[in-house]
């Protein structure tokens, strides 16, 4: 088990290096550099600007710059935010828990929707229930998250006035009221993200159950006289989950994209909205840091998927 994990980590490492290489290339190819403002500033003599460039290694060959950058990133030295005058790592660590809380809750909601509905629809293909579920799923994943967010705000905040549409971290209430306010403000962001992912995954689950449900071993299980719920849960669902796990892991980058949008709509102070504000403020170190964190999260989720895969499919051993 432990060896398996280590081996997967060694496979993940080149991907992380590749991602860092792509990030760095993008930044190196981009027109302009951090010192272009110095060059335009008449009060700084060209010699000083050149010395600064030399001191910060901007004149080094590109592979050396990549190496320096990589070493700094690995040391946790992620730079210094131009806009808020704080270390990038501090800034990201402040924001990360909120993002993980909203993302985690929404993914749990998505699974709670997708698994039962998808299995139900897949076991009874083309029944009325399946058609309703499939139609709803298709509608659900055709509505972009930003539109769902706006519609929910319109209905629940403006017309019904039930839920706040701005996510706040400085709730003044204490005790039970604090928890309630905390949950209440997360309902809409979590619902927007969760229902979208739920719709996507419902389609995955249904398609994968459909592939399994007609196999001979399922007929055998029924012929043996096993109870229907045993057949569905132990024989069909477990095997149908194997491709679903891969698809879920593959859709993680899209989930993070949805998180960026949702955080922006509901003003959730997570790393997604940090990214947008950093881009609007030309805050390059923060942009790099957040993009890198997102990449790491994708890789972590791929690793989790690999582990789940081994658990679901005993043919893949942990050797």
């Amino acid at each position: 088990m432990f060896n398996y994990l280590v081996r997967r980590l060694f496979i993940a490492l080149p991907s992380l290096l590749g991602i860092s290489l792509i990030l760095f290339t993008v930044l190196a190819l981009a027109p302009g550099d951090p010192f272009s403002e110095l060059a335009n500033d008449p009060s700084i003599p060209p010699a000083v600007a050149a010395a600064l460039r030399h001191k910060f290694g901007l004149d080094d060959p590109i592979y050396l710059r990549y190496f320096h950058w990589l070493v700094a990133m690995l040391h946790g030295d992620w730079g210094y935010s131009f806009a808020s005058r704080v270390d990038v790592s501090t800034l990201i660590l402040q924001r990360l828990p909120t993002t993980l809380y909203v993302l985690g809750a929404s993914q749990i909601l998505a699974l709670c929707v997708a698994l039962p509905v998808g299995v139900y629809a897949g076991v009874r293909p083309y029944s009325l229930g399946d058609q309703i579920a499939s139609t709803l799923a298709l509608i659900g994943f055709s509505i972009p998250t930003f539109f769902t967010g706006l519609v929910l705000i319109l209905i629940f905040s403006i017309w019904l006035d039930w839920l706040p549409f701005v996510y706040r971290t400085d709730i003044s209430a204490t005790g039970f009221a604090w928890y309630w306010a905390y949950i209440k403000e997360a309902i809409m962001p979590v619902a927007v993200l969760g229902l979208f992912q739920g719709a996507v995954w419902t389609r995955f689950v249904r398609a994968s159950v459909l592939d399994v449900v007609r196999l001979d071993y399922v007929t055998t299980a029924r012929a043996k006289g096993l109870a229907e719920h045993t057949v569905v849960l132990k024989h069909i669902t477990r095997n149908a989950m194997i491709p679903v796990v891969t698809l879920v892991a593959l859709s993680m980058p899209i989930v993070f994209g949805g998180a960026v949008v949702t955080e922006q709509i509901f003003r959730v102070p997570g790393i997604g909205s940090l990214l947008i504000s950093a881009i609007l403020n030309n805050d390059t170190p923060v942009i790099m840091g957040v993009t890198f964190i997102f990449s790491c999260l994708v890789i972590v989720f791929n690793l989790i998927a690999d582990l789940l895969y081994g658990w679901l499919d005993p043919r893949i051993s942990y050797r």
Binding site: P31, G32, L138, P144
Partner: protein, 319 residues
């Protein structure tokens, strides 16, 4: 049996109902396209969606001739009005006619979707074909590249690229064209992976088939094998994937514009209209609802057409 289940019930027609259709279709010649069209027509929602799409395309292409209101005619006397005879979709905060702006924006959204799809399919087919027809390290390397791109956090990178290259491309090719090229290339460049995987998988199975072997035995060179024998047979799933890519690209462009990083304010793509409308959600909900509804309708129609095509082009289905 496994895997041959159609994505929708309408593709499976009871024999009795299908008999007259088969009799009618029992013309001396059955072309591949004709067969696919016959199957596609069975999927009523897909046909309806194709009609909706055709109507929308017609509207955005020629709508400005029928509704010749300039998109930037400011009229403060009529600002934030709901739908009326003078303004069928209402007006925005500057009193600009929303119908005219929606027609113009639809042109951009559809064009971005289509152009990004073309890029994604071209790159994907190229990478997939090269990977699928080589047996050496090239294949391993390209598969690694595909996996790497699949684990990139797409939206953050899209935002990063657009932020970095926006200014210089605008200088190079003009405000509107520059943004268009950038958005199309960047979206297409991040969405070719699914096509590449499909093409590679098709190539791997097709290149072992007897007809390819026969062609090779007749002395056909490698390029002819690929271009004339393998590639045309691999195109069914690619067309389906391409359809879905159009929908994805439209969502991606709207997301960028919605985050304020897509087209500039004077180019009202649907996402941009939604971005402007979100601040007036409480007094002018029609503004956001029309723009979001248009994106939703288009994306859903494309997805339904994709579903219909999947059933129509699947050669395993015998109807």
């Amino acid at each position: 049996m496994a895997g041959s289940t159609p994505a929708s019930p309408t593709a499976e027609v009871p024999l009795a109902a299908a008999a007259p259709l088969i009799a009618a279709a029992a013309a001396p010649r059955k072309t591949l396209g004709g067969e696919a069209w016959r199957r596609f027509r069975r999927h009523r929602l897909a046909v309806a969606s194709a009609l909706v799409l055709a109507l929308m395309t017609f509207a955005v292409l020629f709508g400005s001739l029928i509704w010749p209101v300039p998109i930037n005619a400011i009229d403060f006397a009529a600002h934030l009005q709901g739908p009326s005879l003078a303004h069928p979709l209402g007006t925005d905060d500057l009193g600009q006619d929303l119908l005219a702006r929606m027609l113009y924006g639809g042109r951009i959204s559809l064009a971005v979707g289509f152009a990004s799809m073309v890029i994604a399919v071209l790159v994907g087919t190229l990478v997939g074909a090269v990977a699928g027809s080589s047996r050496s390290a090239t294949d391993t390397g390209l598969v690694w590249l595909i996996d790497l791109f699949l684990s990139l956090p797409q939206l953050p990178l899209l935002l990063l690229l657009i932020y970095l290259f926006r200014a210089s491309l605008r200088k190079l090719a003009g405000l509107e064209i520059g943004t268009f090229i950038l958005i199309v290339v960047v979206i297409g460049g991040f969405r070719w992976m699914s096509v590449a995987r499909l093409v590679r998988a098709e190539f791997l199975s097709l290149r072992e088939k007897e007809f390819v072997e026969a062609a090779r035995a007749l002395g056909a060179p490698q390029w002819r094998l690929v271009m004339h024998h393998i590639l045309p047979n691999a195109f069914g799933p690619v067309i389906v994937a391409a359809t879905i890519e159009v929908a994805n690209a439209i969502i991606a462009e709207s997301t960028l514009s919605f985050l304020g990083l897509g087209f500039p304010p004077d180019v009202p793509s649907w996402g941009r209209i939604l971005y402007d409308a979100q601040d007036y959600l409480d007094i002018a909900p029609h503004w956001a609802l029309f723009a979001g509804g248009a994106i939703f309708l288009t994306v859903m129609a494309i997805n339904y057409v994709g579903d219909g095509l999947r059933d129509a082009l699947d050669p395993r289905r015998v109807l």
